[in-house]
Amino acid sequence: MVDATLSQPILNPVRSAGYWQNVGKRLMRDKTAMAAAAVLALIALAAIFAPLIAPMDPLDGRLINRLKPIGTEGHLLGTDELGRDMLSRLIWGGRLSLLMGVTPVVLAFFLGSAIGIIAGYAGGWTNTLIMRTVDVFYAFPSVLLAVALSGALGAGLGNALFSLTVVFIPPIARVAESVTTRLRSSDFIEAARASGAGALTIVRVHVLGNVLGPIFVYATSLIAVSMILASGLSFLGLGVRPPNPEWGLMLNTLRTAIYAQPWVAALPGAMIFLVSISFNMLSDGLRSAMEVRQ
Protein backbone atom coordinates (compact mmCIF):
# COMPACT_ATOMS: atom_id res chain seq x y z
CA MET A 1 0.00 0.00 0.00
CA VAL A 2 2.73 2.42 1.00
CA ASP A 3 4.71 1.77 -2.18
CA ALA A 4 1.67 2.32 -4.36
CA THR A 5 1.00 5.69 -2.75
CA LEU A 6 4.60 6.80 -3.03
CA SER A 7 4.92 5.83 -6.67
CA GLN A 8 1.95 8.04 -7.60
CA PRO A 9 3.01 11.21 -9.43
CA ILE A 10 2.50 14.15 -7.10
CA LEU A 11 0.43 16.12 -9.59
CA ASN A 12 -2.38 13.58 -9.45
CA PRO A 13 -5.13 14.28 -6.93
CA VAL A 14 -4.02 11.30 -4.83
CA ARG A 15 -6.28 11.89 -1.87
CA SER A 16 -9.56 12.15 -3.72
CA ALA A 17 -8.80 9.21 -6.03
CA GLY A 18 -7.96 7.13 -2.96
CA TYR A 19 -11.20 8.13 -1.28
CA TRP A 20 -13.37 7.07 -4.22
CA GLN A 21 -11.34 3.88 -4.63
CA ASN A 22 -12.04 3.05 -1.00
CA VAL A 23 -15.73 3.75 -1.44
CA GLY A 24 -15.75 1.44 -4.45
CA LYS A 25 -13.92 -1.29 -2.53
CA ARG A 26 -16.27 -1.07 0.43
CA LEU A 27 -19.28 -1.13 -1.88
CA MET A 28 -17.93 -4.21 -3.68
CA ARG A 29 -17.73 -6.07 -0.35
CA ASP A 30 -21.39 -5.25 0.44
CA LYS A 31 -23.22 -8.35 -0.82
CA THR A 32 -26.73 -6.87 -0.59
CA ALA A 33 -25.76 -3.76 -2.49
CA MET A 34 -23.96 -5.78 -5.17
CA ALA A 35 -26.96 -8.09 -5.61
CA ALA A 36 -29.20 -5.03 -5.98
CA ALA A 37 -26.79 -3.51 -8.50
CA ALA A 38 -26.78 -6.76 -10.49
CA VAL A 39 -30.60 -6.85 -10.59
CA LEU A 40 -30.73 -3.22 -11.73
CA ALA A 41 -28.05 -3.78 -14.37
CA LEU A 42 -29.92 -6.79 -15.70
CA ILE A 43 -33.23 -4.92 -15.94
CA ALA A 44 -31.58 -1.85 -17.49
CA LEU A 45 -29.71 -3.96 -20.07
CA ALA A 46 -32.91 -5.83 -20.95
CA ALA A 47 -34.68 -2.50 -21.41
CA ILE A 48 -31.89 -1.03 -23.56
CA PHE A 49 -31.69 -4.14 -25.77
CA ALA A 50 -35.46 -4.68 -25.76
CA PRO A 51 -35.74 -4.86 -29.58
CA LEU A 52 -33.23 -7.75 -29.60
CA ILE A 53 -34.43 -9.60 -26.51
CA ALA A 54 -38.21 -9.26 -26.45
CA PRO A 55 -39.78 -12.33 -28.08
CA MET A 56 -42.69 -10.38 -29.59
CA ASP A 57 -43.89 -6.93 -30.60
CA PRO A 58 -45.12 -5.23 -27.38
CA LEU A 59 -47.88 -3.39 -29.27
CA ASP A 60 -49.17 -6.27 -31.35
CA GLY A 61 -51.96 -8.28 -29.79
CA ARG A 62 -54.78 -10.55 -30.88
CA LEU A 63 -57.99 -10.32 -28.89
CA ILE A 64 -58.47 -14.06 -29.32
CA ASN A 65 -55.33 -14.54 -27.21
CA ARG A 66 -56.36 -12.15 -24.43
CA LEU A 67 -55.59 -12.82 -20.76
CA LYS A 68 -53.73 -16.09 -21.13
CA PRO A 69 -52.27 -17.38 -17.84
CA ILE A 70 -48.58 -17.44 -16.91
CA GLY A 71 -46.78 -20.36 -18.57
CA THR A 72 -48.87 -20.44 -21.77
CA GLU A 73 -47.11 -21.95 -24.79
CA GLY A 74 -45.45 -19.06 -26.63
CA HIS A 75 -46.41 -16.54 -23.93
CA LEU A 76 -44.17 -17.34 -20.96
CA LEU A 77 -45.78 -14.71 -18.72
CA GLY A 78 -49.23 -14.79 -20.30
CA THR A 79 -50.96 -12.03 -22.24
CA ASP A 80 -52.70 -8.78 -21.28
CA GLU A 81 -56.25 -7.55 -21.79
CA LEU A 82 -55.62 -6.96 -25.50
CA GLY A 83 -53.76 -10.23 -26.09
CA ARG A 84 -50.28 -8.66 -26.12
CA ASP A 85 -47.33 -10.72 -24.86
CA MET A 86 -46.67 -9.79 -21.21
CA LEU A 87 -42.97 -10.74 -21.20
CA SER A 88 -42.29 -8.48 -24.17
CA ARG A 89 -44.29 -5.65 -22.67
CA LEU A 90 -42.50 -5.95 -19.33
CA ILE A 91 -39.09 -5.83 -21.06
CA TRP A 92 -40.09 -2.84 -23.20
CA GLY A 93 -41.87 -1.22 -20.25
CA GLY A 94 -38.54 -0.95 -18.44
CA ARG A 95 -37.48 1.75 -20.90
CA LEU A 96 -40.19 4.28 -20.05
CA SER A 97 -40.47 3.27 -16.40
CA LEU A 98 -36.75 3.61 -15.68
CA LEU A 99 -36.56 6.80 -17.73
CA MET A 100 -39.50 8.33 -15.85
CA GLY A 101 -38.18 7.23 -12.47
CA VAL A 102 -34.52 8.23 -12.83
CA THR A 103 -34.67 11.41 -14.97
CA PRO A 104 -36.51 13.60 -12.41
CA VAL A 105 -33.97 12.77 -9.70
CA VAL A 106 -31.03 13.46 -12.05
CA LEU A 107 -32.50 16.82 -13.09
CA ALA A 108 -33.43 17.68 -9.50
CA PHE A 109 -29.90 16.71 -8.39
CA PHE A 110 -28.35 19.35 -10.66
CA LEU A 111 -30.97 22.05 -10.14
CA GLY A 112 -31.47 21.41 -6.42
CA SER A 113 -27.71 21.31 -5.77
CA ALA A 114 -27.23 24.58 -7.64
CA ILE A 115 -30.05 26.28 -5.73
CA GLY A 116 -28.93 24.91 -2.36
CA ILE A 117 -25.23 25.70 -2.87
CA ILE A 118 -26.00 29.26 -3.97
CA ALA A 119 -28.29 29.78 -0.97
CA GLY A 120 -25.82 28.19 1.43
CA TYR A 121 -22.76 30.01 0.13
CA ALA A 122 -24.40 33.41 -0.28
CA GLY A 123 -26.14 33.35 3.10
CA GLY A 124 -28.05 36.40 4.36
CA TRP A 125 -31.03 37.65 2.40
CA THR A 126 -30.34 35.54 -0.68
CA ASN A 127 -30.47 32.47 1.53
CA THR A 128 -33.69 33.54 3.24
CA LEU A 129 -35.39 34.34 -0.04
CA ILE A 130 -34.39 31.10 -1.77
CA MET A 131 -35.01 28.80 1.19
CA ARG A 132 -38.41 30.30 2.07
CA THR A 133 -39.48 29.73 -1.56
CA VAL A 134 -38.23 26.15 -1.33
CA ASP A 135 -40.20 25.75 1.92
CA VAL A 136 -43.43 26.57 0.10
CA PHE A 137 -42.97 23.60 -2.24
CA TYR A 138 -41.82 21.51 0.71
CA ALA A 139 -45.16 22.32 2.36
CA PHE A 140 -46.98 19.97 -0.04
CA PRO A 141 -46.87 16.20 0.48
CA SER A 142 -44.85 14.86 -2.49
CA VAL A 143 -47.66 12.78 -4.00
CA LEU A 144 -50.07 15.70 -3.74
CA LEU A 145 -47.69 18.14 -5.45
CA ALA A 146 -46.94 15.70 -8.27
CA VAL A 147 -50.63 15.01 -8.84
CA ALA A 148 -51.58 18.69 -8.56
CA LEU A 149 -49.00 19.82 -11.13
CA SER A 150 -49.48 17.05 -13.64
CA GLY A 151 -53.24 17.17 -13.10
CA ALA A 152 -53.32 20.87 -13.94
CA LEU A 153 -50.87 20.56 -16.84
CA GLY A 154 -52.62 17.51 -18.29
CA ALA A 155 -51.49 13.95 -18.98
CA GLY A 156 -48.27 13.25 -20.86
CA LEU A 157 -44.68 12.14 -20.39
CA GLY A 158 -43.16 15.64 -20.45
CA ASN A 159 -45.61 17.08 -17.93
CA ALA A 160 -45.10 14.11 -15.60
CA LEU A 161 -41.31 14.51 -15.77
CA PHE A 162 -41.62 18.24 -15.09
CA SER A 163 -43.92 17.68 -12.10
CA LEU A 164 -41.66 15.05 -10.55
CA THR A 165 -38.58 17.22 -11.01
CA VAL A 166 -40.34 20.07 -9.19
CA VAL A 167 -41.24 17.62 -6.41
CA PHE A 168 -37.62 16.51 -5.86
CA ILE A 169 -35.85 19.89 -6.10
CA PRO A 170 -36.88 21.17 -2.61
CA PRO A 171 -35.59 18.20 -0.56
CA ILE A 172 -32.29 18.13 -2.50
CA ALA A 173 -31.91 21.92 -2.21
CA ARG A 174 -32.45 21.68 1.56
CA VAL A 175 -29.71 19.07 1.95
CA ALA A 176 -27.37 21.03 -0.33
CA GLU A 177 -28.01 24.23 1.62
CA SER A 178 -27.36 22.70 5.03
CA VAL A 179 -24.15 20.95 3.89
CA THR A 180 -22.86 24.13 2.23
CA THR A 181 -23.73 26.34 5.20
CA ARG A 182 -21.81 24.02 7.53
CA LEU A 183 -18.82 24.05 5.16
CA ARG A 184 -18.82 27.81 4.63
CA SER A 185 -17.37 28.66 8.04
CA SER A 186 -14.59 26.05 7.94
CA ASP A 187 -10.99 27.24 8.15
CA PHE A 188 -9.84 26.26 4.66
CA ILE A 189 -12.66 28.27 3.06
CA GLU A 190 -11.69 31.24 5.23
CA ALA A 191 -8.08 30.72 4.15
CA ALA A 192 -9.04 30.64 0.47
CA ARG A 193 -11.08 33.82 0.91
CA ALA A 194 -8.23 35.50 2.79
CA SER A 195 -5.80 34.64 0.00
CA GLY A 196 -8.03 36.49 -2.44
CA ALA A 197 -9.96 33.73 -4.21
CA GLY A 198 -13.25 34.84 -5.80
CA ALA A 199 -16.60 33.34 -4.84
CA LEU A 200 -16.81 31.36 -8.06
CA THR A 201 -13.35 29.86 -7.60
CA ILE A 202 -14.02 28.93 -3.98
CA VAL A 203 -17.28 27.23 -4.91
CA ARG A 204 -15.72 25.41 -7.85
CA VAL A 205 -12.50 24.32 -6.17
CA HIS A 206 -13.37 23.94 -2.49
CA VAL A 207 -17.13 23.68 -2.06
CA LEU A 208 -18.31 21.42 -4.88
CA GLY A 209 -15.92 18.57 -4.15
CA ASN A 210 -16.96 18.49 -0.52
CA VAL A 211 -20.72 18.85 -0.83
CA LEU A 212 -21.59 16.85 -3.95
CA GLY A 213 -20.87 13.50 -2.25
CA PRO A 214 -23.46 13.83 0.54
CA ILE A 215 -26.00 15.39 -1.85
CA PHE A 216 -25.43 12.55 -4.32
CA VAL A 217 -26.04 9.88 -1.68
CA TYR A 218 -29.20 11.65 -0.59
CA ALA A 219 -30.36 11.91 -4.22
CA THR A 220 -29.86 8.18 -4.82
CA SER A 221 -32.16 7.47 -1.87
CA LEU A 222 -34.90 9.40 -3.73
CA ILE A 223 -34.82 7.24 -6.87
CA ALA A 224 -36.96 4.50 -5.28
CA VAL A 225 -39.62 7.05 -4.32
CA SER A 226 -39.39 8.58 -7.77
CA MET A 227 -39.93 5.18 -9.45
CA ILE A 228 -43.05 4.58 -7.32
CA LEU A 229 -44.38 8.11 -7.92
CA ALA A 230 -43.68 8.11 -11.66
CA SER A 231 -45.40 4.79 -12.22
CA GLY A 232 -48.12 6.01 -9.86
CA LEU A 233 -48.79 8.99 -12.14
CA SER A 234 -49.10 6.65 -15.13
CA PHE A 235 -51.29 4.39 -12.99
CA LEU A 236 -53.62 7.36 -12.46
CA GLY A 237 -53.59 8.07 -16.19
CA LEU A 238 -51.42 11.18 -15.79
CA GLY A 239 -48.14 9.95 -17.23
CA VAL A 240 -47.38 7.75 -20.22
CA ARG A 241 -50.32 7.30 -22.55
CA PRO A 242 -51.54 3.99 -23.99
CA PRO A 243 -50.67 1.90 -25.92
CA ASN A 244 -47.04 2.56 -24.87
CA PRO A 245 -45.73 -0.10 -22.50
CA GLU A 246 -44.99 1.34 -19.04
CA TRP A 247 -45.32 -0.63 -15.80
CA GLY A 248 -47.64 1.79 -13.98
CA LEU A 249 -49.92 2.18 -16.97
CA MET A 250 -49.97 -1.59 -17.54
CA LEU A 251 -51.00 -2.05 -13.92
CA ASN A 252 -53.84 0.41 -14.50
CA THR A 253 -55.21 -1.20 -17.66
CA LEU A 254 -54.92 -4.68 -16.14
CA ARG A 255 -56.89 -3.69 -13.03
CA THR A 256 -60.12 -4.89 -14.62
CA ALA A 257 -58.53 -8.33 -15.12
CA ILE A 258 -57.80 -9.10 -11.46
CA TYR A 259 -60.71 -11.56 -11.34
CA ALA A 260 -59.83 -13.26 -14.65
CA GLN A 261 -56.00 -13.45 -14.51
CA PRO A 262 -54.94 -12.05 -11.11
CA TRP A 263 -51.26 -12.98 -11.23
CA VAL A 264 -50.72 -11.68 -14.74
CA ALA A 265 -52.35 -8.41 -13.63
CA ALA A 266 -49.95 -8.14 -10.68
CA LEU A 267 -46.75 -8.62 -12.74
CA PRO A 268 -46.02 -4.96 -13.71
CA GLY A 269 -46.27 -3.90 -10.05
CA ALA A 270 -43.81 -6.62 -9.08
CA MET A 271 -41.33 -5.07 -11.53
CA ILE A 272 -41.79 -1.60 -9.99
CA PHE A 273 -41.27 -3.15 -6.54
CA LEU A 274 -38.14 -5.04 -7.62
CA VAL A 275 -36.54 -1.92 -9.11
CA SER A 276 -37.50 0.33 -6.20
CA ILE A 277 -36.24 -2.07 -3.49
CA SER A 278 -33.00 -2.57 -5.44
CA PHE A 279 -32.42 1.18 -5.64
CA ASN A 280 -33.08 1.46 -1.89
CA MET A 281 -30.57 -1.28 -1.07
CA LEU A 282 -27.94 0.14 -3.40
CA SER A 283 -28.42 3.58 -1.90
CA ASP A 284 -28.13 2.20 1.65
CA GLY A 285 -24.93 0.39 0.63
CA LEU A 286 -23.52 3.54 -0.93
CA ARG A 287 -24.32 5.53 2.19
CA SER A 288 -22.47 3.16 4.50
CA ALA A 289 -19.59 2.85 2.00
CA MET A 290 -19.19 6.63 1.97
CA GLU A 291 -19.79 6.83 5.72
CA VAL A 292 -22.21 9.68 5.22
CA ARG A 293 -24.38 10.19 8.26
CA GLN A 294 -27.78 11.74 7.90
Binding site: D135, S142, V143, L144, L251, P262, A265, G269, I277
Partner: protein, 316 residues
Amino acid sequence: MLGYSLRRIIYTAPVLFGVSVVCFALVHISPGDPLISILPADASVELQNRLRTLYGFDRSYPEQFILWLGRALQGDLGTSIATGRPVTTEVMRAVGNTLMLAAVATAIGFVLGCFFGFVAGYFSNSPLDKAASAAAVFGVSVPHYWLGMVLVIIFSAQLGWLPAAGAGPGGSSQWRFDMVHLSYMVLPAITMSVIPMGIIARTVRALVAEILAQEFVIGLRARGLSEFGVFMHVVKNAAPTALAVMGVQLGYLLGGSILIETVFSWPGTGMLLNSAIFQRDLPLLQGTILVLALFFVVLNMVVDIMQSALDPRIKR
Protein backbone atom coordinates in the same frame (compact mmCIF):
# COMPACT_ATOMS: atom_id res chain seq x y z
CA MET B 1 -41.58 26.99 24.82
CA LEU B 2 -44.05 29.86 24.33
CA GLY B 3 -41.42 31.83 22.45
CA TYR B 4 -40.71 28.90 20.18
CA SER B 5 -44.42 28.32 19.53
CA LEU B 6 -44.89 31.95 18.59
CA ARG B 7 -41.88 31.92 16.27
CA ARG B 8 -43.12 28.69 14.66
CA ILE B 9 -46.57 30.21 14.08
CA ILE B 10 -45.10 33.40 12.61
CA TYR B 11 -42.85 31.32 10.36
CA THR B 12 -45.92 29.43 9.08
CA ALA B 13 -47.69 32.56 7.81
CA PRO B 14 -45.46 33.22 4.74
CA VAL B 15 -45.51 29.49 3.92
CA LEU B 16 -49.31 29.53 3.94
CA PHE B 17 -49.26 32.57 1.67
CA GLY B 18 -46.87 30.80 -0.71
CA VAL B 19 -49.04 27.68 -0.71
CA SER B 20 -52.07 29.74 -1.69
CA VAL B 21 -50.08 31.36 -4.52
CA VAL B 22 -49.14 27.90 -5.86
CA CYS B 23 -52.77 26.72 -5.63
CA PHE B 24 -53.97 29.87 -7.40
CA ALA B 25 -51.37 29.34 -10.11
CA LEU B 26 -52.55 25.76 -10.74
CA VAL B 27 -55.56 26.99 -12.68
CA HIS B 28 -53.44 29.34 -14.73
CA ILE B 29 -50.63 26.92 -15.69
CA SER B 30 -53.35 24.63 -17.00
CA PRO B 31 -53.40 24.76 -20.80
CA GLY B 32 -56.39 26.19 -22.62
CA ASP B 33 -59.10 28.62 -21.62
CA PRO B 34 -60.16 28.11 -17.98
CA LEU B 35 -63.74 28.51 -19.17
CA ILE B 36 -63.48 25.82 -21.83
CA SER B 37 -65.32 23.15 -19.85
CA ILE B 38 -68.37 25.28 -19.05
CA LEU B 39 -68.67 27.06 -22.40
CA PRO B 40 -70.96 25.49 -24.96
CA ALA B 41 -69.05 24.61 -28.11
CA ASP B 42 -70.92 27.20 -30.22
CA ALA B 43 -70.72 30.07 -27.68
CA SER B 44 -70.64 33.49 -29.30
CA VAL B 45 -67.74 35.83 -28.65
CA GLU B 46 -70.11 38.08 -26.73
CA LEU B 47 -71.17 35.26 -24.39
CA GLN B 48 -67.52 34.25 -23.90
CA ASN B 49 -66.63 37.79 -22.92
CA ARG B 50 -69.61 38.08 -20.55
CA LEU B 51 -68.63 34.86 -18.77
CA ARG B 52 -65.00 35.96 -18.63
CA THR B 53 -66.06 39.18 -16.89
CA LEU B 54 -68.41 37.26 -14.60
CA TYR B 55 -65.64 34.89 -13.43
CA GLY B 56 -63.12 37.75 -13.28
CA PHE B 57 -60.78 36.17 -15.83
CA ASP B 58 -60.47 39.51 -17.65
CA ARG B 59 -58.63 41.10 -14.72
CA SER B 60 -54.88 41.01 -14.07
CA TYR B 61 -53.40 38.04 -12.19
CA PRO B 62 -52.66 39.97 -8.97
CA GLU B 63 -56.22 41.31 -8.92
CA GLN B 64 -57.65 37.85 -9.54
CA PHE B 65 -55.43 36.42 -6.81
CA ILE B 66 -56.56 38.96 -4.21
CA LEU B 67 -60.23 38.39 -5.06
CA TRP B 68 -59.76 34.60 -4.96
CA LEU B 69 -57.83 34.70 -1.67
CA GLY B 70 -60.43 36.99 -0.10
CA ARG B 71 -63.21 34.56 -0.98
CA ALA B 72 -61.15 31.55 0.09
CA LEU B 73 -60.53 33.14 3.51
CA GLN B 74 -64.30 33.36 3.93
CA GLY B 75 -64.61 29.66 3.10
CA ASP B 76 -65.77 30.16 -0.49
CA LEU B 77 -63.62 28.08 -2.85
CA GLY B 78 -65.83 28.55 -5.88
CA THR B 79 -68.27 26.22 -7.57
CA SER B 80 -67.53 22.78 -8.93
CA ILE B 81 -67.97 22.80 -12.69
CA ALA B 82 -68.99 19.13 -12.84
CA THR B 83 -71.61 19.08 -10.08
CA GLY B 84 -72.53 22.74 -9.67
CA ARG B 85 -72.19 22.43 -5.89
CA PRO B 86 -69.84 24.64 -3.82
CA VAL B 87 -66.29 23.25 -3.76
CA THR B 88 -66.13 23.71 0.03
CA THR B 89 -69.12 21.38 0.52
CA GLU B 90 -67.62 18.71 -1.75
CA VAL B 91 -64.20 18.85 -0.10
CA MET B 92 -65.51 18.86 3.45
CA ARG B 93 -67.68 15.82 2.76
CA ALA B 94 -64.73 13.88 1.30
CA VAL B 95 -62.10 15.02 3.79
CA GLY B 96 -63.79 13.20 6.68
CA ASN B 97 -63.50 9.85 4.88
CA THR B 98 -59.85 10.43 4.05
CA LEU B 99 -59.04 11.62 7.56
CA MET B 100 -60.65 8.50 9.01
CA LEU B 101 -58.72 6.18 6.70
CA ALA B 102 -55.41 8.01 7.17
CA ALA B 103 -55.79 8.10 10.97
CA VAL B 104 -56.47 4.35 11.20
CA ALA B 105 -53.61 3.62 8.79
CA THR B 106 -51.21 5.84 10.77
CA ALA B 107 -52.21 4.11 14.01
CA ILE B 108 -51.57 0.65 12.54
CA GLY B 109 -48.30 1.85 10.99
CA PHE B 110 -47.19 3.41 14.28
CA VAL B 111 -47.83 0.26 16.34
CA LEU B 112 -46.16 -2.08 13.82
CA GLY B 113 -43.34 0.38 13.08
CA CYS B 114 -42.54 0.83 16.78
CA PHE B 115 -42.61 -2.92 17.31
CA PHE B 116 -40.24 -3.66 14.40
CA GLY B 117 -38.07 -0.66 15.28
CA PHE B 118 -37.67 -1.66 18.93
CA VAL B 119 -36.94 -5.29 18.08
CA ALA B 120 -34.37 -4.27 15.46
CA GLY B 121 -32.75 -1.65 17.69
CA TYR B 122 -32.61 -3.88 20.77
CA PHE B 123 -31.20 -6.94 19.02
CA SER B 124 -29.13 -4.99 16.56
CA ASN B 125 -27.27 -7.13 13.98
CA SER B 126 -29.05 -10.32 15.08
CA PRO B 127 -31.30 -12.31 12.70
CA LEU B 128 -34.28 -10.61 14.42
CA ASP B 129 -32.86 -7.21 13.44
CA LYS B 130 -32.36 -8.41 9.87
CA ALA B 131 -35.98 -9.57 9.67
CA ALA B 132 -37.37 -6.39 11.21
CA SER B 133 -35.18 -4.20 9.02
CA ALA B 134 -36.31 -6.16 5.96
CA ALA B 135 -39.91 -5.36 6.92
CA ALA B 136 -38.96 -1.68 7.10
CA VAL B 137 -37.26 -1.74 3.67
CA PHE B 138 -40.32 -3.50 2.28
CA GLY B 139 -42.53 -0.74 3.67
CA VAL B 140 -40.60 2.09 2.03
CA SER B 141 -39.99 0.26 -1.27
CA VAL B 142 -43.33 -1.32 -2.14
CA PRO B 143 -45.55 0.58 -4.59
CA HIS B 144 -48.56 0.80 -2.27
CA TYR B 145 -51.11 0.93 -5.10
CA TRP B 146 -49.76 -2.43 -6.27
CA LEU B 147 -49.82 -3.85 -2.73
CA GLY B 148 -53.48 -2.78 -2.57
CA MET B 149 -54.19 -4.67 -5.81
CA VAL B 150 -52.41 -7.79 -4.53
CA LEU B 151 -54.40 -7.69 -1.27
CA VAL B 152 -57.63 -7.34 -3.26
CA ILE B 153 -56.58 -10.31 -5.40
CA ILE B 154 -55.89 -12.47 -2.33
CA PHE B 155 -58.59 -11.41 0.13
CA SER B 156 -61.42 -10.37 -2.18
CA ALA B 157 -61.02 -12.13 -5.51
CA GLN B 158 -59.58 -15.45 -4.29
CA LEU B 159 -60.76 -15.89 -0.70
CA GLY B 160 -63.82 -13.64 -0.80
CA TRP B 161 -63.32 -12.56 2.81
CA LEU B 162 -63.35 -8.79 2.43
CA PRO B 163 -64.99 -6.27 0.10
CA ALA B 164 -62.72 -4.96 -2.67
CA ALA B 165 -63.97 -1.41 -3.13
CA GLY B 166 -66.03 1.42 -1.66
CA ALA B 167 -66.58 2.61 1.89
CA GLY B 168 -69.77 0.69 2.59
CA PRO B 169 -72.47 -1.52 1.07
CA GLY B 170 -74.25 -0.24 -2.03
CA GLY B 171 -71.69 2.44 -2.80
CA SER B 172 -72.39 4.23 0.49
CA SER B 173 -70.19 7.31 0.70
CA GLN B 174 -70.73 8.07 4.37
CA TRP B 175 -68.66 6.03 6.76
CA ARG B 176 -70.33 4.68 9.91
CA PHE B 177 -68.91 2.71 12.79
CA ASP B 178 -70.29 -0.82 12.45
CA MET B 179 -68.94 -4.22 11.44
CA VAL B 180 -69.99 -3.95 7.80
CA HIS B 181 -68.40 -0.55 7.28
CA LEU B 182 -65.36 -1.66 9.23
CA SER B 183 -64.83 -4.60 6.85
CA TYR B 184 -64.65 -2.12 3.95
CA MET B 185 -61.88 -0.26 5.72
CA VAL B 186 -59.59 -3.22 6.48
CA LEU B 187 -57.80 -3.56 3.12
CA PRO B 188 -57.27 0.15 2.32
CA ALA B 189 -56.13 0.88 5.89
CA ILE B 190 -53.63 -2.00 5.93
CA THR B 191 -52.32 -1.02 2.49
CA MET B 192 -51.90 2.58 3.56
CA SER B 193 -50.25 1.67 6.88
CA VAL B 194 -47.26 0.09 5.12
CA ILE B 195 -45.63 3.45 4.32
CA PRO B 196 -45.62 4.91 7.87
CA MET B 197 -44.73 1.44 9.18
CA GLY B 198 -41.50 1.39 7.19
CA ILE B 199 -40.50 4.96 7.98
CA ILE B 200 -41.35 4.73 11.70
CA ALA B 201 -39.52 1.38 11.99
CA ARG B 202 -36.37 2.89 10.43
CA THR B 203 -36.52 5.95 12.69
CA VAL B 204 -37.18 3.98 15.88
CA ARG B 205 -34.43 1.47 15.11
CA ALA B 206 -31.86 4.25 14.74
CA LEU B 207 -33.19 6.02 17.87
CA VAL B 208 -33.12 2.91 20.04
CA ALA B 209 -29.62 1.91 18.92
CA GLU B 210 -28.42 5.46 19.64
CA ILE B 211 -30.07 5.62 23.08
CA LEU B 212 -28.80 2.18 24.12
CA ALA B 213 -25.24 3.26 23.29
CA GLN B 214 -25.45 6.22 25.67
CA GLU B 215 -23.76 6.18 29.05
CA PHE B 216 -26.89 6.76 31.11
CA VAL B 217 -28.15 3.31 30.05
CA ILE B 218 -24.99 1.71 31.45
CA GLY B 219 -25.57 3.81 34.56
CA LEU B 220 -29.14 2.55 34.90
CA ARG B 221 -28.00 -1.05 34.50
CA ALA B 222 -25.18 -0.51 37.01
CA ARG B 223 -27.69 0.78 39.52
CA GLY B 224 -29.44 -2.56 39.22
CA LEU B 225 -32.51 -1.41 37.32
CA SER B 226 -34.51 -4.27 35.83
CA GLU B 227 -34.39 -4.73 32.05
CA PHE B 228 -38.01 -3.52 31.94
CA GLY B 229 -37.06 -0.38 33.83
CA VAL B 230 -34.29 0.33 31.32
CA PHE B 231 -36.75 -0.31 28.50
CA MET B 232 -39.14 2.30 29.93
CA HIS B 233 -36.29 4.84 29.91
CA VAL B 234 -35.56 4.04 26.28
CA VAL B 235 -39.26 4.45 25.42
CA LYS B 236 -39.38 7.81 27.17
CA ASN B 237 -36.36 9.03 25.23
CA ALA B 238 -37.53 7.75 21.86
CA ALA B 239 -41.15 8.89 22.22
CA PRO B 240 -40.95 12.58 21.19
CA THR B 241 -39.21 11.88 17.87
CA ALA B 242 -41.32 8.80 17.10
CA LEU B 243 -44.54 10.72 17.79
CA ALA B 244 -43.35 13.63 15.64
CA VAL B 245 -42.62 11.28 12.74
CA MET B 246 -46.08 9.79 13.20
CA GLY B 247 -47.71 13.22 13.01
CA VAL B 248 -45.86 14.13 9.82
CA GLN B 249 -46.76 10.75 8.31
CA LEU B 250 -50.45 11.39 8.99
CA GLY B 251 -50.11 14.55 6.93
CA TYR B 252 -48.38 12.68 4.11
CA LEU B 253 -51.12 10.05 4.04
CA LEU B 254 -53.85 12.72 3.98
CA GLY B 255 -52.25 14.34 0.95
CA GLY B 256 -51.00 11.16 -0.69
CA SER B 257 -54.12 9.05 -0.44
CA ILE B 258 -55.10 9.53 -4.09
CA LEU B 259 -53.44 6.33 -5.34
CA ILE B 260 -54.91 4.10 -2.64
CA GLU B 261 -58.33 5.73 -2.86
CA THR B 262 -58.27 5.09 -6.60
CA VAL B 263 -57.47 1.40 -6.11
CA PHE B 264 -60.19 0.92 -3.49
CA SER B 265 -62.73 3.50 -4.80
CA TRP B 266 -62.64 5.05 -1.32
CA PRO B 267 -64.88 8.15 -1.42
CA GLY B 268 -62.36 10.63 -0.02
CA THR B 269 -60.34 13.59 -1.24
CA GLY B 270 -58.22 11.34 -3.47
CA MET B 271 -61.26 10.18 -5.43
CA LEU B 272 -62.42 13.79 -5.56
CA LEU B 273 -59.05 14.86 -7.04
CA ASN B 274 -59.17 12.00 -9.50
CA SER B 275 -62.58 13.01 -10.84
CA ALA B 276 -61.62 16.70 -10.79
CA ILE B 277 -58.58 15.96 -12.98
CA PHE B 278 -60.41 13.88 -15.53
CA GLN B 279 -63.46 16.13 -15.79
CA ARG B 280 -61.09 19.15 -15.97
CA ASP B 281 -62.95 20.57 -13.00
CA LEU B 282 -60.26 23.13 -12.13
CA PRO B 283 -62.01 24.91 -9.22
CA LEU B 284 -62.53 21.54 -7.52
CA LEU B 285 -58.90 20.53 -8.17
CA GLN B 286 -57.64 23.84 -6.80
CA GLY B 287 -59.89 23.77 -3.73
CA THR B 288 -59.06 20.18 -2.79
CA ILE B 289 -55.32 20.75 -3.13
CA LEU B 290 -55.54 23.96 -1.08
CA VAL B 291 -57.44 22.29 1.77
CA LEU B 292 -55.08 19.28 1.85
CA ALA B 293 -51.96 21.48 1.77
CA LEU B 294 -53.36 23.67 4.58
CA PHE B 295 -53.97 20.56 6.66
CA PHE B 296 -50.39 19.45 6.04
CA VAL B 297 -48.80 22.81 6.92
CA VAL B 298 -50.86 23.29 10.08
CA LEU B 299 -50.29 19.67 11.15
CA ASN B 300 -46.52 20.06 10.73
CA MET B 301 -46.65 23.23 12.81
CA VAL B 302 -48.63 21.53 15.60
CA VAL B 303 -46.24 18.55 15.53
CA ASP B 304 -43.20 20.82 15.88
CA ILE B 305 -44.72 22.76 18.75
CA MET B 306 -45.82 19.58 20.55
CA GLN B 307 -42.40 18.03 20.08
CA SER B 308 -40.70 21.02 21.65
CA ALA B 309 -43.17 20.79 24.54
CA LEU B 310 -42.50 17.06 25.03
CA ASP B 311 -38.76 17.25 24.66
CA PRO B 312 -37.08 19.97 26.75
CA ARG B 313 -33.76 19.30 24.99
CA ILE B 314 -35.06 20.93 21.85
CA LYS B 315 -34.28 24.63 22.03
CA ARG B 316 -34.53 26.13 18.63
